[in-house]
Amino acid sequence: MVLSKKMNFLFILIIFASSCSLVWADQPPIPPTEVKGSDTKNDAGGSITLSWKRSPDDGAGKNNIVSYKVLRSSQEEGFYILISDVTAGAEQFLDNNAKDGIKYFYKIKAISNEGFSLSLPSPAIVSKAQWFDTTKIYILAMSVILFSAILYFISKAKSGKELFIRKIAGLDAVDEAVGRATEMGRKIIYIPGINDLDDIQTIAGITILGRVAKLVAEYEAKLEVPVSRSMVMVSCRETVKEAYINAGRPDAYSDDMVHYLTDDQFAYAAACDGIFVREKPAAIFLMGTFFAESLVLAETGNSVGAIQIAGTARPAQLPFFVAACDYTLIGEELFAASAYLSKDPKLLGSLRGQDVGKVLFLLGILVGTILISFNILDISFIFNVR
């Protein structure tokens, strides 16, 4: 009987001890605190940036946090639904599925192997779209200065003031190239890059084509424009046709002068190379956007002895054109070509405005370099755009 009482006591003790250890082991983690959020700045709406102070058991204390679950509700005391999981250590979350104008409440659930705990709900947060992206304010300021300079010089040019524009050798050579083709009785091949009409370089290329086509029509030379995009084909046809009409040679124009080859980059390069080798053109113009095919085209053109004038705004392709072509329009010269060739004062005015903008930016770079070199002020933040 005594033994039985002792056994009972021992049994109760064991149960008490084990229940105590279970209570300790199952104790949930301390919940995260200070859950708050705000509308994500400078966006089109639909986004809330959430932050919280992580659980004291995350990285310290019991150090047993596995992850956090982000819960959301449109009512403070309502039903909270799980919207995402984030790893332990996180203190921020971007909810990109919010609807503008709706009040949202958030709770953060800390998860450990032993259990979980919920934070208090956040204050109500509403997402909305912004009318202006403030990270771009400096870009706007620079654009306004540049636009003003360009518009000022365009209006000045309109008033009849003569503007000096520096010589561009590659563009002065256009006459020479067309003249050479006429004398040799061979074709001029014009390639307006391999991108579509949504690329400003293609538009610049087509614009130059208009000037070249007019010269070709006046000289009664032969022109061929193989293109790699259907819309570019249509635009080039219109441009060439108009140039021939303006030159008084509409009879010499034919739709076949501008023809489509393929959208595929290397198939296009192969087709153009074939044309170069078979036709042996006297002049080749490569104006627009080019990628790896630039040297394939330029070297083949070089091998058939054509005078080559190239222009692109892709810095990676410029060395290839410089090495393989007779003249290269470097970057901005491609965009200046149309104004330069047309001699239209309004267009030349925009070039002058562009040059003034360049001087202003160079001054900005100089001042910025001095300020940061002497540790006076770091103004690089003006280039930080979202």
């Binding site: 709406g45 779209a129 912004q130 009318w131 202006f132 992206d133 540049l146 360009i150 518009l151 365009i154 579509d196 949504d198 400003i200 538009i203 610049a204 087509i206 614009t207 084509l209 208009g210 995009r229 259907s230 819309m231 084909m233 635009s235 441009t239 108009e242 076949d256 023809h259 489509y260 393929t262 959208d263 980059q265 290397f266 198939a267 192969a270 078979r278 040297l295 394939v296 330029a298 070297e299 705004a313 410029l318 090495a323 393989a324 470097i330 970057g331 901005e332 491609l334 965009f335 200046a336 149309s338 104004a339 047309s342 267009l347 925009s350 070039l351 405005g353 562009q354 360049k358 930016f361």
Partner: protein
């Protein structure tokens, strides 16, 4: 009207794109995306124009037996085979799946042909470099020396050749300096010029001053 309507559309779309860069708010963001979608749809439809033009030009070449007309037969046959196999004999919508006839032609005909064209670039780089690096004048000689240092600095032999030099003066360091200082400075100057050129051209197009691309002076 033939010119005014396209110029007006260009100006409106240009201004929307410009404003949507600074304003993420509705309706500019939606208009921006819609304009991009419309362009994609028009571009997709216009492919037909290009293909029809390609077929017409090459059929004419064959029928009139113009110079090199047999090449046109190859082109037309290639176009037909790829289209028929893709549409009729390659699991319909899943024509690009592994094991389909179209995928076979793509992997074993189209891809090798494309890769061949790309690999020709290596030989063209060699011939262009030979011409560019000939030391005919001061600039070309500087280019030659810089290219020599960069090429040697990027390969293990460059390290072995200059390992006796003090640290930071190895060929690899010289190559990095050339790429990070003079090369990058030059490239950034070009990039700034390009950015200004793009802005200037865009303004000319939006204002309707530049209209040659529409077929007008």
């Amino acid at each position: 009207m033939r010119r005014e309507v396209p110029i007006a559309i260009t100006a409106v779309v240009g201004i929307i794109f410009l404003m949507s860069y600074f304003t993420p708010h509705f309706p500019l963001n939606v208009l921006h995306n819609s304009a991009t979608d419309i362009f994609m749809i028009i571009a997709a439809f216009s492919i037909l124009l290009g293909v029809l033009n390609l077929v017409r030009v090459n059929l004419e070449k064959i029928s009139k037996k113009k110079r090199d007309w047999p090449f046109s037969i190859v082109l037309i046959l290639g176009l037909l085979v790829m289209t028929i196999v893709g549409l009729g004999f390659s699991k319909g919508r899943n024509f690009m799946e592994l094991g389909t006839n179209f995928r076979y032609l793509y992997d074993y005909v189209y891809n090798p042909l494309s890769a061949t064209m790309f690999s020709i670039l290596a030989f063209f780089i060699a011939s262009a470099s030979y011409r560019a690096f000939r030391g005919r004048n001061l600039e070309a000689t500087l280019l030659l020396v810089a290219a020599f240092v960069v090429m040697l600095g990027r390969v293990p032999i460059g390290y072995y050749l200059s390992s006796w030099l003090p640290t930071n003066y190895h060929l690899g360091d010289a190559a990095s300096w050339i790429m990070n200082v003079p090369q990058k400075a030059g490239q950034r100057a070009i990039m700034i010029g390009i950015a200004l050129g793009v802005v200037s051209t865009s303004i000319r197009i939006i204002l309707g001053l530049e209209r040659t691309y529409l077929g007008g002076e």
